[in-house]
Amino acid sequence: MIKKFFARGWVFLVLAFIYIPIFILIVYSFNNGKTIGVWEQFSFKWYGKLGEIKDVVLNTVLLAVISATIATILGTLGAIGLYYSKGKFGKVVNGASQIPVVNSEVVTACALVMLFMIIGAEHRSLFGLYVGHIVLTAPFVVLSVIPKLKQMDSSLYEAALDLGATPTQALFKVVLPEILPGVFTGFMLAVTLSLDDYIITATLAPLGYDTISTAVYKAIALTTEKASEQVPIYRALTTVIFIITLSVVVISNVRAQKIAKRKGVK
């Protein structure tokens, strides 16, 4: 009985550490004042000001979706290529493609800066920023697609050829549908990584171009008067993001359960 009590207590403690800070943030996003810890009055004031940071949000979402899409295409093709490449060359390329995953982001960012300087391009540019995010996320797409390829019955591709498909048709009609869950996971992973990213964005983004992460940092570091004004708005934004994430998780879980139930009936 006591053992059970402590076990439950421990779980509760862990969850508390995760969720209480978020909860505090959400509560104070409805506070009329600016400072956390000093409750003034319930208000939607900061939600009303969300429009002030709409550019930042748009920048972030566009960057995430576009770079993740490109990274998913490149990563998927790369994974297929890697999976079918044989011999020593295949092994070397396979290993090399996984290094960016474990590599520190700072190294990637600095390396890209140097690359742009060597080829004589402006190292802070929108193009560079997108390239940076694709370089960051594509290896994760490869990583999530490869297991699906390994799971796939290798004779499926041959069966498609056998039935008259050209290699390209076989790829789109048979291989791609088979690995689609992996591709989707890879895409979501890429979006998440890009949304969160600070280091590469801070290093490569054009001056004055902010995503949520760089903007939040600037606001907290109180680099400018305007930035400090915006801190409570980010509390409101955090709340919105949290609610969106929560609903996505809940909806997908409910759907998964429904599908499981339907399969169970059969």
């Binding site: 019955d153 056998d162 088979e178």
Partner: protein, 504 residues
């Protein structure tokens, strides 16, 4: 057979497939398949049968040689351009498509030439895809063929193994291929279902009239279904023939052993259509040179069991196992085991005799490269074999071993072994035997029974009296048949290996 008149649909000429790591999967395969034939590639795993099939399908390319389809070289044609379809080992159905879409997959990709007439009566040839109606009709027909009507909308994941197998067959035949390749298609099914499917496939082959090329390691399946069987081993064709030919007239001991159960004895031709094995001169129907060393194959069901003294060879039953329809018994004749199948059981220990009819004795020439005997080591560390006793080097039985002063063998690990009465395999090369008129000089004594001139030397056979052991060897000197000689083998030329590990 009717097939003999028909043209060759596919021909393999000097096909070799060597993989990147240097292993040769298929070597020097020459083969043709006639139109409408049911041909089976049979062999143990790793014999190259699947690789051969993959080359016909186009998934693998031969390193050497050509593949002709209706006389045209297709060696470099990709699989999607070949009028050949495959039923894969693990079915390879597309999991994201339902039964209908799986079967229609090939049809939807197919393009055909359609001829129209315009207002002026000119013919216009257009390349068009099949219409939805045509596809639906063909799919329906294919489903009917495999007894799966009404399964169109089912997901392939919900089908049983046997049903998946049928869908895989339907998916292949719906394209009306010239050749259907089947790669161990029944391997994953249980015995009962396999038997049913064998008959169904055979029936399907009859109805469709297309050429079937079938790959299996199951000899019974091959015998049941095929018009022609190609037996393969280590990438090389061993024999091509009808099931009856292959079963009754196996070309070598491998084929005999692989196809059905068989007794394989080493024998010697002793006269015109007479062969000697298990100590008796049997009449046979095959003609070979006198004194030629041969492999003799006798099927267990072709041996007749009699009471002792009534048959040709006497022996003793040493084991008997009930196998459902028959008993499988082993009779010991001297040191040789003879496997016999009979519906009447003889008890273990019973003295019996056997009769083998000339027609049931299948003789194959033997590649003779060395003399092989069973022997044992004596107290004096000599070896007894072939009715004689010879000096030998027993330390070769254990690497880095040596003999101590008392004659015990000391192994590299320092263990002391008494080799007395240990059974050994003895091998003596054809060039390592000498003979002498001096009967005291050698280890065994016998008469020369055969002298064959082989260009620059003679090949002699000396046979001993007691157990009729033969010594075959090459010599440059002239001798006469029936000379009584002794056999001399230098100590270092006697190769010994342990018959089994000795308990220490």
């Amino acid at each position: 057979m009717a097939n003999e008149k028909k043209e060759k649909i596919i021909e393999l000429i000097g096909i070799k497939r060597e993989f990147e790591d240097g292993t040769v999967a298929v070597d020097n395969v020459d083969l043709y398949v006639r139109k409408g034939e049911f041909i089976t590639f049979l062999g143990p795993s790793g014999c190259g049968k699947t690789t051969t099939l993959r080359m016909i399908a186009g998934f693998d390319k031969p390193t050497e040689g050509k593949i002709l389809l209706n006389g045209e070289d297709i060696s470099n044609l990709p699989p999607n351009m070949r009028p050949i379809n495959t039923v894969f080992q693990r079915y390879a159905l597309f999991p994201h498509l339902n039964v209908y879409d799986n079967i229609a997959f090939g049809l939807k990709l197919k393009k055909q030439k359609v001829t129209y007439q315009d207002e002026n009566g000119n013919e216009i040839v257009k390349i068009e895809k099949l219409s939805k109606g045509e596809i639906a009709q063909k799919v329906e027909k294919a489903l009917k063929m495999v007894d799966l009507e009404g399964f169109e909308k089912r997901s392939v994941a919900t089908l049983s193994g046997g049903q998946q197998q049928r869908v895989a067959i339907a998916r292949a035949i719906v394209n009306e291929p010239k050749i259907l390749l089947l790669d161990e298609p029944l391997g994953a099914l249980d015995l009962k279902m396999r038997k049913d499917m064998q008959l169904e496939l055979k029936e399907m082959h009859r109805k469709l009239g297309i050429t079937f090329i079938y790959v299996t390691h199951d000899q019974e399946e091959a015998l049941t279904m095929s018009d022609t069987i190609v037996v393969m081993k280590d990438g090389v064709i061993q024999q091509i023939g009808t099931p009856t030919d292959i079963y009754n007239e196996p070309k070598n001991s491998f084929v005999a052993d692989f196809i059905g159960e068989s007794n394989i004895f080493s024998g010697t031709m002793v006269g015109d259509k007479k062969v000697r094995f298990i100590g008796y001169n049997f009449d046979c129907v095959d003609e070979f040179e006198k004194n030629e060393k041969v492999d003799v194959v006798v099927r267990p069901e072709d041996i007749f069991l009699m009471d002792a003294d009534k048959g040709q060879v006497k022996g003793k039953i040493i084991s008997s196992i009930f196998k459902g329809v028959h008993y499988e018994m082993v009779m010991l004749v001297g040191k040789t085991e003879v496997v016999i199948q009979d519906t009447v059981e003889r008890k273990v220990g019973e003295e019996v005799s056997i009769i083998i009819k000339p027609n049931d004795i299948h003789i194959m020439s033997k590649e003779f490269t060395s003399n092989k005997y069973l022997g044992y080591i004596t107290k004096k560390n000599t070896v007894v074999f072939g009715d004689g006793e010879f000096e030998c080097d027993v330390t070769q039985l254990y690497p880095n071993s040596f003999l101590d002063d008392e004659g015990y063998l000391i192994t590299a690990e320092g263990e002391k072994i008494d080799l007395t009465d240990v059974d050994v395999n003895v091998e003596v090369g054809l060039k390592d035997i000498e003979i002498s008129d001096d009967q005291e000089k050698g280890g065994a004594i016998g008469n020369i029974i055969s002298i064959i001139y082989k260009g620059d030397h003679y090949q002699l056979i000396v046979r001993t009296d007691e157990n009729e052991e033969d010594y075959v060897f090459d010599t440059e000197y002239t001798w006469n048949v029936n000379d009584r000689v002794s056999i001399i083998i230098p100590k270092e030329k006697i190769k010994l290996t342990l018959k089994q590990e000795i308990k220490k």
